[in-house]
Amino acid sequence: MSTGLVASSENTESKDPQQRQPLYEASTQFRNWRFSSEGLAQIREKLNEAAVAAIRNTFEVDQPGSSANVAFLHANEEVTLVKLYLTKIPQLCAMFRFPEEVEATAISYLKRFYLKNTVMDWHPKNVMLTALFLATKTTNNPISLETYTAHIPKTAPSDVLDLEFLVAQSLNFEFTVWHAHRALWGIWLDLQSLPDVDQNLSPSIHDTALNHIRASRLTDAELIYTPSQIALAAFTLAAPDLALKWAQSKLLPNVTSSQLSLDTISPVLELIKSMILNEGHAPDVEAVREVDRRLRICKNPEKVVGSKAYLAKQAEEERKAEEKRHKKVLEMQKGQSDPFGDEIQGTSLVDYDDDDD
């Protein structure tokens, strides 16, 4: 469980070729979903700018001048809105009695989704429901869609399913998520076999640390730090002395200058701790309400079913699809004039159910 501890996002030290790559470093999480806090801010700014520009354009096409008085959302306002929906996931999970892994995975999915999309296109309310449903499947805890939506007010199966592909695509189909609560469990098990630790550890220590981890899920911690770094920070908040003992037991043997020492971890732990304590709570409801109110005006009209822009986009897509089908039919007819074409007539070369696009 300590493998990820050395892998901070700033870690660029050269590796001993003899050493086998830690498992965590081969994961898609390590490779593709790790950012610096500045990097995160930049991604969100850019995404927000591009979204505003595109939506503004749609407004203008519909009616010139109509975007002038629209107060589009800022990147940090998007984050606040998403955060509110992050807090809804544990509530739903409690109702369904889903395991911790489903909850943690759904939360990761929702965060990752909004590193690729804007709330002005896709409202987090629906995306959250889809992310959670997808997480039940990817963590091997599936329930039927009917049961799922029956327990959620004003939600039809299609509300969840329509976004499933989009969510899966946004996640780059990388479904595996490594969680801090698992790393915490590893620390907890390790502690019980340390020689100088009282065997009767109070379970409340683990529970307190777990609550800190749950709080960390409302922050960007998992996008910046490794699961074991977050787990150790949470454990340090719950029981600093025990945490130190555990860390020492992991780091003591042959510490060389190039390797990790307590001195290099401590500042990282401090950053995570303050993140948990300062940001690990639900956003102010009034502030979110205000964001949501503005979102009603500035959301992308192309995504509003029935709107003029939506219909225009639909028509355009239909036209393209028709063109493609037409091309395919032509190709098929060309194929049939081939001297060898007759043999395969009747088994229908063109299968509309089967278009390869």
Binding site: L23, L134, K137, N140, L145, A168, Q169, S170, F173, D357
Partner: protein, 370 residues
């Protein structure tokens, strides 16, 4: 167009489908190329639209695990993209599988060839297990062979991760002939040893050139195992009579393995028997197997490029395409029928008719147990 949609389209354009090489109820397989390099690839197009619960578990498992696993002896998932209601998996192209090679009567296997295939199987499996992933459907036709002779574990539609002991799992996994006795007795807590049993059966099959333990039903499977390896005693396998589905199936003596595997060396039989130990905890692990004397004794394993290959180019059997999803079953999507009963689609028209008939059957499996 959204950035995500754009990225998806860009991915799609990197891959060219050339021709359909197989069609099943829920998937179509194409042979194709990578646009930039012309490298041969396979595209497995999964029709998601027909599942009322969206992306199905089998596809999710396959994508989830193959996205993380990169190893010479595990099939490589090159890309994933969606098209309308289809999910497309771009996989490295592999032209045959071990079942085809075993069945090809024109091929002669040397002991060194078998050793090479076993080494590659254990290497791929050790990598999965090291990554906390159980394959749960090892059998010769899930061990694919690349043109350079490398063997690759494929079809992760039944795979799952494991970590804590005491986490309940389904016992309805692994094709029957390769299924270990603990699963046949309904054991819901198990680990990597289940895959090792399957590898043992494959090992024996490579020597015999016919399936080693071909049971006709789950009950008959136990009988077949006990006939071959002797009925386990309480000493052999403590506690097995307490397993949920335990039934006595008769007392069989343990015949010497040598009687069946007449040409095998002592090392060979030793490794084989360690894969087929009744007590799962005593069964050899993939890591231990890799350092077993068998692999260090003469003859050394054949270089992959020199291994026997199927002479004729055969399309992948069509039923392969369906992976493990049996939409009519009530269990968690297991295809554990014996090979004789497998569907072989004979003509395209029949394929079509069947595929439609299947689609009209909406009996839906209940959520599978974890």
């Amino acid at each position: 167009m959204d950035a995500v949609e754009k990225a998806n389209t860009a991915r799609q354009q990197q891959w060219i489908k050339d021709r359909k090489v197989g069609e099943g109820t829920y998937a179509v397989v194409y042979q194709g190329r990578e646009a930039s390099t012309k490298r041969k690839i396979a595209v497995k197009k999964i029709k998601v639209g027909q599942f009322k619960d969206g992306l199905d578990m089998s596809a999710i498992r396959e994508v989830k695990y193959l996205r993380e696993l990169k190893h010479q002896n595990v099939i490589e998932l090159l890309d994933v993209f969606s098209s309308k209601t289809n999910l497309n998996l771009v996989l490295e192209f592999l032209d045959s599988d071990l079942e085809m090679i075993i069945k090809d009567r024109s091929l002669v296997f040397l002991p060194a060839d078998i050793k090479s295939w076993m080494a590659m199987t254990f290497r791929g499996l050790e990598f999965c297990h090291r990554n906390w992933i159980l394959h749960r459907d090892l059998k010769p036709n899930n061990l694919l062979i690349a043109s350079d002779g490398q063997l690759k574990l494929a079809d992760f539609g039944l795979a799952r991760d494991f970590a804590d002991p005491g986490y309940k799992m389904t016992c309805q996994v692994i094709t029957r002939w390769y299924r270990p006795p603990e699963l046949l007795f309904g054991c819901r807590y198990y680990g990597t040893a289940v895959d090792i049993w399957s590898v043992g059966c494959i090992f024996a099959e490579l020597m015999l050139r016919i399936p080693y333990l071909p049971g006709e039903s789950d009950m008959d499977q136990l009988k077949t195992i006990f006939r071959a390896l002797g009925t386990p005693t309480e000493d052999d396998w403590p506690g097995h009579t307490k397993l949920p589905d335990y039934v006595p199936v008769g007392q069989f003596p343990k015949p010497p393995m040598r009687d069946l595997f007449t040409a095998a060396t002592a090392d060979t039989l030793n490794l084989l028997s360690k894969c087929l130990i009744y007590e799962p905890r005593k069964r050899i692990s993939a890591l231990e197997a890799l350092s077993h004397p068998y692999f260090f004794a003469l003859p050394y394993p054949t270089h992959p490029s020199k291994l026997p290959k199927c002479s004729t180019v055969v399309n992948k059997p069509l039923d392969e395409v369906d992976a493990n999803v049996d939409m009519n079953s009530s269990g968690p999507g297991v295809k554990a029928t014996s090979k004789g009963l497998k569907r072989k689609l004979t003509s395209p028209t029949e394929a079509k008719a069947r595929s439609i008939a299947r689609r009209l059957d909406f009996s839906k499996a209940p959520p599978s147990s974890p």
